[in-house]
């Protein structure tokens, strides 16, 4: 397939796609309504294309993009499960999609009811008391949760607590969010079994007595391993005056099996785009609701949807609230999809989701561990991490294995993460894949392991069958070209 030119390089002057209705009010000169100095001198130089050109162009672009609907996507930590079509249809209902956020409550009773019920579902799944639906994404949930923790400490006169503990295998967003919240991060080491090293935790807690604000943790962690010391960890952090933050990135492993609240966590964020099957959309929108235990409820952002004797309404929060974390109520249409998903599955269905996610991951891990190094050889939860250390001896890296998978129509695993595993390949099949798909992946991975031994150039030169080959990242970063310019301008620039 040849390259697709840009929309700016298509069309012709005067060509139109969408047109507006005829103006049926007086067409007064614009500068009689607004002073000329506040008006544009020239129209914005947007494309001039017909509808067929727009449709062909973006259809061609879609054909140059891989999604879950196209094939297997075992991208660790991202939970690329199937996105049900029903959810899309429900989110498109005019009563949800064509709704203004500031409409009077009496005109949005259905939306408010959905939000109240969804909050209840998420509170039950996580074992928390209340949940804010405002955060737009997981990282947004993290900063919200940390702000809540900060407000809690300040309220108790312990605003000096400035340290957030983060295990060495945590997602990069955890330390970034903690820094943004004004905290200093201290990394916790993992033990030989991939868990938080309790002795190290003890040392760190002793060393920073009175300074611990929180521990941020994912459980199961990014190695796909459940930390069975969680109750002990929670006790020690609580004893040190810290709060426990649960990164819900891996919640697909635990629904109906265990709950962060029961493990001792005080704050939880969800990634509804992972756990509740809402589409990732090429990088967003997601939704990152945050649940809290009883003692943190007063600090939640507001307003919160509520049910009263007169129906549903937006309830103002009290003076301890951290305030808004964004405009409006959150990514509502994402929440509609998540609500639909939970109602489709019911309690038994959600449990079956998590059970099956765990089974699928173990099935692949056990079938391939003779070909790939498994640094933590334990029963995994919904995902696990291989190392390409063995392949590295033939000068084949995790990156090359990833690129070779592209030739087989399979999206690669997450690579080089978590950082504690060299040449990491993090594999999360999710529950929505058939046994045949898993078997095919296993066969392909075995073939690639063989190629790495016998014909490594097949990997190092991969991919062979994609619309473009490996791209020059260094050039992109060294000479950033971030927008199209008309030829004349571009030439004048260089």
């Amino acid at each position: 397939m040849s390259t697709e030119s840009l929309i700016f390089e298509k069309g012709a002057p005067g060509r139109r796609c969408s047109t507006l209705p005829a103006l049926d009010v007086p067409a007064r000169p614009l500068d009689s309504l607004v002073p000329a100095e506040l008006l544009r001198a020239e129209p914005a130089p947007l494309p001039e294309v017909s509808e067929i050109e727009v449709v062909r162009h973006y259809t061609h672009l879609s054909q140059r993009n891989f999604g879950v609907d196209a094939g297997f996507y075992p991208l660790g930590s991202c939970t690329m499960k199937y996105n049900p079509k029903l959810n899309e249809d429900m989110a498109a209902l005019p009563g949800f999609a064509r709704l203004h956020p500031l409409q009077h409550e009496s005109l949005t009773q259905g939306a408010l009811q959905l939000l109240v019920e969804l909050e209840g579902f998420l509170a039950e799944i996580s074992g928390m008391t209340r949940v804010t639906l405002q955060p737009a994404a997981g990282a947004h949930g993290e900063i919200t949760g940390l702000m809540i923790i900060k407000a809690h400490h300040e309220h108790r006169g312990e605003g000096h607590r400035d340290i957030v503990l983060i295990p060495d295998n945590a997602h990069g967003t955890n330390p970034a969010s903690a820094s943004l919240a004004g905290y200093t991060t201290v990394e916790l080491k993992s033990d030989a079994r991939g868990r938080v090293d309790l002795a190290h935790l003890e040392d760190v807690l002793a060393q920073h007595q009175g300074q611990i604000a929180a521990l941020m943790m994912t459980n199961p962690n990014t190695l796909g391993l459940f930390d069975e010391h969680i109750v002990e960890i929670a006790r020690r952090v609580h004893d040190a005056g810290g709060q426990l933050y649960y990164d819900g990135a891996n919640a697909n492993a635990i629904m109906g099996i265990t709950r962060p609240g029961d493990m001792g966590f005080d704050v939880v964020h969800f990634n509804l785009h992972k756990t509740c099957s809402t589409p990732h959309g090429g990088g967003g929108p997601g939704a990152g609701p945050v649940g809290v235990a009883d003692h943190l409820v007063p600090f939640l952002p507001g307003p919160l949807p509520a049910k009263g004797s007169q129906g549903y309404f937006w309830e103002d929060v009290g003076p301890l609230s951290i305030g808004r974390v964004r405009a409006n109520c959150g990514n509502f249409l994402v929440l509609v999809r998540a609500y639909t998903y939970i109602r489709t599955n019911g309690p038994d269905g959600l449990r079956h989701v998590s059970d099956s996610a765990v089974l699928n991951a173990n099935y692949i891990m056990r079938a391939l561990q003779d070909e790939y190094d498994l640094p933590y050889d334990r029963t995994c939860m919904h995902e696990f991490v291989f190392s390409a250390n063995r392949q590295k001896k033939n000068d084949v890296h995790a990156l090359d294995i990833a690129k070779r998978l592209l030739d087989f129509g399979i999206h690669p695993p997450t690579i080089y993460f978590p950082l504690v595993v060299p040449e990491a390949m993090m594999i999360e099949p999710t529950e929505t894949e058939t046994k045949e798909t898993l078997d095919n992946f296993i066969a392909v991975m075995r073939q690639i392991a063989r190629e790495a031994r016998e014909e490594p150039s097949l990997l190092t030169e991969a991919p062979h069958d994609t619309v473009v080959g490996r791209l020059d990242q260094t050039l992109a970063a060294r000479k950033p070209d971030l927008r199209w310019q008309p030829a004349a301008v571009a030439a004048g620039d260089s």
């Binding site: 008006l39 544009r40 259905g110 959905l114 405009a327």
Partner: protein, 453 residues
Amino acid sequence: MSYVPNTADEQQAMLRAVGADTIEDLLKPIPEDVRLKRALALPPALAEPDLKRLMLGLSEQNADLDHYLSFLGAGSYDHILPSVVPHLVKRSEFYTSYTPYQPEISQGMLQAIYEFQTLVCQITGMDVANASLYDGSTAVVEAALLAVGPAGTGDVLVSRALDPQYRATLKTYAHTRGFTLREIELDQGATSLAALEAALTPETKAVIVQQPNFLGVLEDVRQIEQLVHRTGALYVVAITEPASLGVLAAPGDYGADIVAGEGQSLGSPLGYGGPALGLFATKEQFLRRMPGRLVGKTVDDRDQTGYVLTLQTREQHIRRERATSNICTNQALLALATTVYLSALGKQGFAELGAQCLRRAHYAQEHIAAIPGYTPLFTRPFFDEFAISTPLPPEQVGAALRERGIVGGYDLTRDYPELGDAMLFCVTETRTREDIDMLIAALEEIAGPAHVH
């Protein structure tokens, strides 16, 4: 209904393959004392037809804008959504994909975002734009964070006519980061130049002004620029109504350092306020301090043009605690929608969009102003929103309009009590003359004979 495809027999075979008898054997790492020893207390599963009925019922308890005539804006705007936009956005190759970390199989989304970045530059007149942020309010927060830098201290001056929800969001983050927010008073509905001048100090890191502002008024953006740039502060222009850029001067033309705003109304449904689309554009010199994803053009190993995520060393997954921002996503699907939308409207269509909003709103404002009891609050120029002083409390006006199937303007009394009884009306290209005349007739009726002179 289950989306787990494997049958019980198949799962049994898989269990055997991993040396387990039951799923329970795989869950042993989870200690007994944290196990949930009951089923989740959730409503039972529903079959698709039952669920559709339930959801349709819920959705119909909302007054959607296909059935109600709305004159509500105040940060969220109803614009025509050509069918071509949702059709292309719904292609599942786009919406079921993840962040394009594997560029060889993500050229479609990457190129679309490169086009998006270009289009945002074209409408704002800025040098560079990112791949989008969560929403307008958080985009403005990110602008403030860029201005205060890693230390997170200093003053940020905010016009009182910045969207109240944006101001509230800024306040939350200011408290966390430790910078000081100072609100600049209004004069006749616009940011007071005298108050701004008095508030600017060497400690001022940024000045945030919205154009058109929350009260619909057009700010004197060029005069403000002169004042701001006498100091070292960054000039942040917030935009919640991007259709205005069809006719209004581009912020790049009047010296904005950062444009941060909301792009949802360009191609995505209102959706009760989310998902939204944070726009962020700036000058070349701030490129490496800009938050969020960026797509760049490059070449592959066969010398073909291609696109990649670039300058990722600023981002959290590489820099961790030293990242410029904790954001690890953009709103790619909405950015795609805006890309298709702006391409579909095109050069002429986008200009006409702005012109129609402007003319229809002025028709409405003049006729409402002619009704006894209704008076425009300000005489300054406006785009497609205007504040009207009402003869009755706006709560009552709103209720009376609802009885007539009309969603009225935004009740300003809560956020701006100093303005008295006042309502903010919005008229976009979606409102016909007939629609506007219905509003006028209703407002006349509501005012009642007491106000007939």
